[in-house]
Each structure stands twice: as C-alpha cells, then as structure tokens.
C-alpha cells in the first residue's frame, strides 16, 4: 500500500451561527487538535510513552484513552527507536500515526529512524513509499530539568531534507497545525515548547486547520524586526513591549515553520525595517538563527542598516539551578538590549 491513498472523510457539521470564542490553554488546544484528528480519520492513532493511562507527560492527551480506547491511544514501552520505527511502518502501511516522543531529548534515541528512515524512504524508494507520519515532541528549557532534558534541537531537525518542521507558538497554531501536518504526505515534526502548555487565551469555537507554509507577523513595527518562534516568541513580544516604551516600534515575526523557512516573509520585513534581531533558544553555533541570518545576508544584504544580531541560548549544557538556567536563555531584557543596540 502506498501513502498516496486517501479516504473520504466525513464533512464537518455545518454550523448555524458563529460560535462564541472559548478560553483555552495551549495544552487543551493541542488536545482538541488530536481529538479532532481521531474523530475525522480512523487511520489516525496516538502512540508514545505515558500517553494513555497517565494522559501524557505534559497532560496533553489526558482523557483521550477513555474517549478513544487503547487501540487508538497506545502506551508504549520505553523504546523510542521502536515506536518511532513502528510509526514509520504504520504510516507506510496507510495509517496516519501521531507519535509522541516525550521530549526532544529522547528523540535522540530514535534519530536513526527519523533521519535515516522517515526522511529518506520516499527518495530511496524512487517515490514508491512515503511516510505520512507526524511526530510531536516537547522541546526547550526553562523548567529546571537540567542539561539532558532541556535541549532545543528543532534547529538540528530543520537541517534534514525530507522532513517538515513546525513550531506552534500560538493557540491557533497549537489547534490548527496538527491536522494540516497529518494531511501532508511526508513526515512532519511538531515541536511544542514546554513553557507554552499552560499559556491561556481565547480561540474561536470553530477554530480549525491552519496553513503550515508561511511565517506570521505577530506584531507590526517599522524600526527593527525581531524574528523568533516557539517558546521564544512570547519573549520577543515582551521585548517589543519594552521597546515601545522607548519609542522603538519592533516588528515581531513568528517563523512557525522551521523547514521550509518562509524566506519571503523574512526578507519583506527586513526590507522595511532594515534591522534584525534573531531570538532562538538553541545554541548560537550552527543554529537555526545562523541559517536565517545567512539567508538575510544572501538576499537582503543591501537592505541592512546594521549587522544582524542573535540572542541565543548560552553555549553551555543548560544549567539546572533556576537562576543559572534563566541566565542561559534568551530573555525579554536581552532581546530588547540587542534591539536597542542595532537601532542605535
């Protein structure tokens, strides 16, 4: 069976009138997305460590086992390579698995399956075999989990051809990216920053799938472009608030999709503001921020009025002590300071 097959899905029930917005957390929005996918497509199932009885290490799948049963909400042994590999096999066989890796740190145990298998099988089968697999994982630091449980490795994965990499930073994207990812014929990795799960806000009750191929302007401005994504977006927006107090109007770009990058949106903003600060929790050397910076230099060098600045995670294993960890990560203050420096 090839992955090209599709099945008729039930059309969504027509709504009589626009529903009232609902207050919802990022965690609940993600859960609503998983629930919708399970309801809409019987090929979808969720698999991972502690996703069933425990409801997920970050409580994303709480209640789904009771709702959908153990065939579709599958607790696995502590075998990352096995359950990612099995997800690849299921996807090749026509299913639409959502594999949850507890955190990005544990994805390293499945790296061969992700990189050497999921990402390459379409190419190495001459287009015969696709892997329509979605892998969700928590990423990032900030919760006192120390050096082995605080990585931001989405930039690594964004290095790999064959994969699509998403970083939902908003409630809309937490709610909407999953379905679009499941509809994609190729493997899609979704990175959920651990600091976002408790973030609360409102969503239209009929919020649904969103595109996964464009960056978004989260705050318009004319003086400097702050480029960020995922868990650092909120810090960039907080920095923009501070800058506004100094009379600096910062534009904040949310990359949303880390591979492929939306060059046009980046270059368009830079061409209007002429100054850029990149905020990325990943380590600076060889980072996603380095890649974006290189593209700006390649495509908009003559638009720049100041060198591109990066605010990244300190190049140390992430400390465990709270105050050290906070000092090792980009913060609104440090992003704002970099912005002030380029605005001059």
């Amino acid at each position: 069976m090839t992955s090209g097959q599709t099945r008729q899905h039930r059309p969504r029930a027509a709504r009589k009138r626009p529903a009232e917005p609902v207050t919802i957390t990022y965690r609940e929005a993600m859960r609503a997305a998983i629930r919708e996918a399970l309801q809409r497509d019987d090929r979808v199932f969720l698999m991972g460590e502690d996703v069933g009885r425990y409801g997920g290490c970050f409580a994303v799948s709480l209640g789904l086992l009771e709702e959908f049963g153990p065939e579709r909400i599958r607790d696995t042994p502590l075998s990352e390579s096995a359950f990612v590999g099995a997800g690849i096999g299921a996807a090749m066989g026509g299913m639409r698995p959502i594999v949850e890796i507890m955190t990005v740190n544990f994805s390293l145990l499945a790296l061969d399956q992700i990189m050497n298998n999921a990402a390459t099988l379409r190419h190495m089968s001459g287009g015969q075999v696709g892997v329509p697999l979605v892998i969700r994982m928590t990423t990032g630091a900030g919760r006192q989990l120390a050096a082995q449980h605080s990585h931001s490795l989405e930039g690594w994965f964004a290095h790999i051809p064959g994969l699509k990499i998403l970083a939902p930073a908003t409630l809309e994207d937490a709610r909407g990216m999953l379905w679009t990812a499941l509809a994609d014929p190729d493997p899609v990795l979704i990175f959920e920053h651990g600091s976002l799960y408790n973030v609360s806000g409102t969503l239209p009750a009929d919020a649904g799938p969103v595109g996964i191929d464009r960056a978004a302007i989260r705050r318009p401005g004319r003086d400097v472009t702050l480029i960020s994504y995922g868990g650092t977006l909120g810090k960039a927006l907080a920095a923009a608030d501070r800058l506004a107090g100094d009379g600096i109007e910062a534009e904040v770009i949310d990359l949303r999709t880390l591979r492929p990058l939306d060059d046009a949106a980046i270059i368009d903003s830079v061409s209007r503001t002429h100054r850029v600060v990149l905020a990325d929790e990943g380590w600076r050397s060889g980072s996603l921020a380095a890649e974006v910076s290189a593209r700006i230099t390649e495509q908009a060098f003559y638009q720049l009025d100041a060198p591109v600045q990066r605010v990244c995670g300190a190049e140390v294993p992430i400390p465990y002590a709270r105050h050290l960890e906070q000092a090792a990560l980009p913060q609104p203050e440090t992003i704002a300071a970099a912005a002030r420096a380029v605005v001059g």
């Binding site: 425990y54 696995t76 140390v316 105050h323």
Partner: protein, 381 residues
C-alpha cells in the same frame, strides 16, 4: 485429516507456557527465616541489626528529601520508598574495590558506599552536577538518561578485565543498577550482548518496581525479566527485592562469580515503587491504591523488625536509638540543604571544555558585563 482447533485468537495459549518464576527469599514478610540451599547466609545478630539501621536511615533520608522538595528547596527528587532492601542488600554485598553505576534513585546504595547524603541533596538542588568523586567511593555519579549507565558499566567492566583485575583473591567486579522500564531500551539490551560475549565481570541489578512512570510491567515484558538473561547467554534470577537478606546473599554470590571471571549475572529484585516516579509525578492517575496496600504488607523494614523483636534479639532501646539517629540525620541534612549557597551565576560557563575555549570565554565575559550592569556603585546587586 483432523484439524486441530488451535487457539489462534489468544497468543498467550502456548503449548509451552513460560515457566513460573522462582522467587528467592530468605526472610518472609512476617519475619521468618527461610534458608535457601544455594544462598547460605551467615550473619550475626549485630550484622542484621546493622542492616536494619541502614534501611531505616535511608528511608528517613528519602523522606526528608521529599519534604525539602515540597518546600521548594530541591528542584526534584526521585524517591526510593519501598526499594530500601534491594538497595541496601546489594549495596552491602559490594566490596570497596567493586564499582557501582547507579541510576538517579540509588540513594540507599549511595549510603552503603559511604556517600554523605548531603551530596545527593546538592545534586538535586542544583548546587553542582555531582559533587562527589566517583573514585573515592567507587560509586559513579547518578545517571539520568534511562539505561545509559548499563553500557558505561559494561565498558568499565571490560576495562577491569583488560587490567587483569579479574580472578584471584582480590578480583574486582562492577554492578549496574537499572529499572524495569530500562529493560525496554536498546542500550540495556546492547549492554547485555556486550557483557555476555566479552564475559565481562558485571552484575546487572534490575530493581523491578513494577512501574516505569505510568507504564506497568506488562507494557515492558511478557516474560519475567530475569528470564531474558538466558537468551543473552548468562544466568538470571529473581530475588525478593523487599528482603534485604536475600538481596545481600544473591548479590554477593553474583559479584563473587564476576570477580572470579565467570561473567555476568542478571538479578531481578522484585519490589515496588511505593511512591511517585519523582516529585513531578502523581501515581494516583494511573494505578490502584489496592496494589499499593498489598505491597505495604511486604514492607522491607517491618520484616527485619519482626525478625529482631519477636525472639528478643533486639530490645526497644535499639529501635529507639536507630530512630533517634534518623532524626539526627534528618535534621542535619535539612539544615545543610537550606544553607547551601547558590552557585555563582558565571559558574555555568565552567567545565564546558577542559581547556580554555574562546567562544565560552567570550560568552562568560558578555554575561559578566551584563550582570555588572545591575550593580550599584558600592558593588551590591
């Protein structure tokens, strides 16, 4: 031709059922001695009293640490509650020259290796990343990554072999601790293969506490864990993990075999995680209290107390003295924890590389400048 109505629907109906596991036990939950012909254990009353003291003190240390975490003094704590006998029994089986590779839950083994429990609190408070010298106690730093230490231990054991320290009167051995959940990890299975084919002097000590966070044993295995060892080519056995005497006897024998060059043994210490996986976990979400209650009847400390108290081997003053010592240790480590100095902000740039590194130095300088921008004129922050 007759067609056999095979029960295909249930793959558990094998013609050759999995052999019923044998549990090695020397002291019943009621405190009765049940000698085992293969594991003779000659201990004086004082030695058993000493084991009792170990059990009580490590439980108290654990209790204090949980309380400290709840007060916000520790970031996290992984409780050993219920596993005291497995850890003290195996820990006391070690000779000083043997090397132990722990997980993050081996506080009882740490105690047996002579490590001050304050060192454990420093680690979980974030004051340092392992403030003890592994060589001083022949007790490696805690490993956080599930199962990774089994490979390190295997490599270390092969190093011992290469150094010619196996065999003879003063042979050395290695013990690798891990849990039931870790047995599903590739690393652990690969360490079994390596230890086996190299005949490495190692004891694989699996504390099967029945739960890998929320994943119960039946999500990890269909055969008793110790029976896996046979497939890898070395002996495996299951011991009552709540029986400190059995854990001591079984581990002693396995370590001696390793020291003599007879290769690896896997010990499955059958026990129960009475508390949460760590202080971030809530086990009431996924397991029944009836199970917990049934394990309370197999408590590792109570059975030793029963053994000592009934024939009058120990009097109330002994138990009171142990409790008083536990109170003292509790107070000492609590006070030590609360007065630990916060690490200096710039210390996060330490030990990224052994030698000076330009990138790290530049970031350190940048951070120092940033911090000093908050200083008042008299140098206060």
């Amino acid at each position: 031709m007759a067609v056999k109505a095979a029960g295909r629907a249930s793959s558990r109906n094998h013609d050759n059922p999995i052999p019923k596991p044998e549990l090695i036990q020397l002291l019943t939950p009621e405190g009765e001695l049940t000698p085992h012909p293969d594991y003779p254990l000659e201990l004086s009353v004082d030695e058993i009293k000493s084991l009792y003291r170990d059990l009580v003190l490590v439980r108290r240390i654990d209790f204090e640490a949980i309380a400290l975490q709840r007060k916000g003094e520790l970031g996290i704590w992984a409780s050993l509650l219920g596993q005291e006998a497995a850890q003290v029994g195996s820990g006391r089986a070690l000779e000083p020259r043997d090397m132990a590779f722990p997980t993050y839950r081996e506080h009882g083994v740490a105690w047996c290796r002579g490590l001050d429990p304050v060192k454990l609190l420093e680690l979980f408070r974030g004051v340092n990343f392992g403030g003890w010298d592994p060589r001083e106690h022949n007790f490696h730093l805690y490993t956080i990554v599930i199962g990774a230490q089994t490979l390190h231990a295997t490599g270390y054991a092969m190093g011992i072999q290469r150094d010619g320290a196996v065999g003879g009167e003063d042979g050395e051995a290695v013990i690798a601790y891990f849990g039931d959940g870790a047995t599903s990890q590739g690393d652990v299975n690969e360490s079994f293969i390596w230890a086996s084919v190299n005949n490495a002097p190692i004891v694989f000590f699996c504390q099967n506490n029945q739960w890998a966070i929320s994943a119960p044993l039946e999500k990890q295995t269909r055969v008793p864990l110790y029976q896996r060892a046979q497939g890898f080519g070395f002996p495996g056995l299951r011991v009552d993990g709540n029986d400190v005497l059995a854990c001591l006897a079984v581990t002693r024998k396995a370590l001696q075999a390793a020291r003599e060059g007879q290769g690896p043994t896997m010990i499955e210490a059958y026990t129960y995680r009475m508390g949460a996986h760590t202080t971030t976990d809530d086990p009431t979400r996924y397991r029944l209290s009836a199970e917990l209650e049934s394990w309370k009847l197999k408590d590792p400390i109570e059975r030793v107390r029963q053994y000592l108290i009934r024939p009058g081997l120990a009097k109330e003053d002994f138990f009171a003295a142990v409790n008083a010592e536990a109170d003292e240790i509790g107070a000492r480590i609590r006070q030590a924890c609360e007065t630990m100095p916060d690490p200096e902000p710039l210390s996060m740039f330490d030990h990224v590389y052994a030698e000076p590194n330009a990138l790290v130095a530049a970031e350190r300088e940048q951070a120092a400048a940033y911090i000093s921008s908050f200083m008042t004129e008299d140098g206060a922050r």
